[in-house]
Amino acid sequence: MKTSNGGNSFLDQVIKATPGGEKLVLCLQCGTCGGSCPSGPDMDYSPRMIFAMTSAGMKDQVLSSNTPWFCVSCYYCTVRCPQEIPITDIMYTLKQLAIQEGRYEQRKASDFSEHFIGYVENYGRSFELGLATRYFLFHNPLKLVNMGMGMGMSMILRGRMGFIPERIKNMDQLQNILDKAKQIAKEGAA
């Protein structure tokens, strides 16, 4: 697909990093995505606005907004978009770019993601996504037991909370695969 966008390198960057991302240039600004979005009211800019801003090359504002971080990946926008733009995947791309460029101001969200994958990269398995123990230890050691919100002790008593994930057997193999993938990703970005 042709992506003539008047030399907008930010738009190109987003498109390149997203499988199927070239459809982004077809955005009609119809607002279906924003209207479908459960997090919409709490976002700095609605998904529709984010795409207008991306097309306008407003990289700083886009990458420092909370919008991609408040995306819950519900895919409502994606299935409803009349132009079949892979919106949810573009939100993932924007998060990735925000981290790469150090532009994000949503430290809490990206810290959470980074801690989570830290586990995956060391154990091949993760702790519970919704029970981010290491994340809580890191940010808020005193709150570990009451978890800030809710549950804590009850989860422990019901045996539902693990503190360290199991480790897979062939961790070396997984590490080699991930290292290689990171190297390829770097080549691509250069």
Partner: protein, 320 residues
């Protein structure tokens, strides 16, 4: 004959099942035994990255997921079955995007090669456990095993997002009904409520309690409005959010919800005559004990259909 004929199910349990969602795992094994479903756990499977790895770096995220696909294919699986919606969508998306984007496929396979693995997209069908139950076992196959129907239990099927979106072709993306029919098959009274495919808040409980608790509140409110005794889920994340944060919702909004959140496999087990303990009921934070006492031995009375009044105005004829 085994339900597996022609299928080799590579089972991808996912990390949650090893701990938080152990009840899902236990009840899945229990119903699989009864239904004659053979789920072969993929040996040495790894985490799918949940919703987090794709946020950090997409290529390693795809490679992480693809290792599981490669392992399953290597074990002769024809399909991969995931009980967790998030695992399901990641596995599905990786297979699909590798198929549609040759560049991605080449890169992922270059990475896999570093671990002496390879995955040819489309080798496997990625399917959710619910899909296997309703389509491969089928409603009739399930009905044949029901010995203790769940009469008069008002069940609200909760699909959440990722089992139906993005469009995997398994059920309607906006108004899914497969679990409704399954619950009906078990004898339960199905609560058809509008928010059954809305978001549970996902990982937002860890990032913004304002966003997460409001999303959870909406769902509980809607199910309560329709007088659900229990909400039934297909995903560990959904179960966790609605169950473990229900008390926080009550505190924040001054509400008094007490709706137990069970896995669909747990209620299937009950209908198959197992005890609550057999299907790990009791692990939920909002206890299901009270709700389960609503189950009766007799089916609910059918609402009487009124005869048409002879003198009533004629109904319009339907034109074919």
């Amino acid at each position: 004959m085994s339900t597996n004929s022609g299928h080799h199910y590579g089972y991808y349990p996912g990390c949650s099942i090893t701990k938080n969602a152990a009840a899902y795992g236990v009840s899945t094994d229990a119903i699989a035994r009864i239904l004659g479903l053979h789920l072969h756990e993929i040996s040495d499977w790894n985490c799918c990255g949940a919703s987090e790895y794709f946020s950090i770096n997409q290529l390693p995220a795809y490679a992480l997921v693809a290792r599981n696909l490669a392992l399953a294919a290597g074990e002769g699986a024809t399909e991969v079955v995931a009980p967790c919606s998030l695992c399901y969508v990641n596995l599905y998306k990786t297979d699909k995007n590798m198929r549609l984007h040759p560049d991605l496929k080449a890169k992922v396979n270059r990475a896999l090669d570093a671990g002496n693995l390879h995955y040819e997209p489309d080798t496997l069908k990625v399917r959710h456990l619910l899909d296997i139950v309703v389509n491969d076992v089928g409603y009739d196959g399930v009905a044949a095993k029901v010995t203790k129907p769940l009469y008069n239990l008002r069940v609200a099927p909760y699909y959440g997002c990722l089992i139906v979106r993005p469009d995997t072709g398994f059920d309607n993306v906006e108004y899914p009904t497969t679990m409704d029919k399954l619950m009906e098959t078990l004898g339960a009274t199905v609560v058809d409520y509008p928010l059954k495919a809305e978001c549970c808040g996902g990982h937002m409980t860890q990032i913004s309690d304002t966003v997460a608790l409001e999303l959870i509140r909406r769902l509980l409110h809607n199910a309560a409005e329709y007088q659900a005794d229990v909400i039934v889920t297909v995903c560990p994340m959904c179960q966790l959010n609605l169950d473990a944060y229900q008390a926080d919702v009550n505190k924040r909004f001054g509400t008094n919800y007490h709706i137990p959140i069970l896995y669909f496999t747990q209620v299937m087990g009950l209908a198959f005559g197992m005890t609550p303990k057999d299907v790990a009921i009791g692990k939920e934070l909002v206890s299901a004990d009270r709700a389960l006492t609503k189950i009766t031995a007799e089916p609910p009375e059918k609402p009487k259909t009124r005869k048409r009044d002879k003198k009533a105005l004629p109904m319009p004829d339907m034109i074919e």
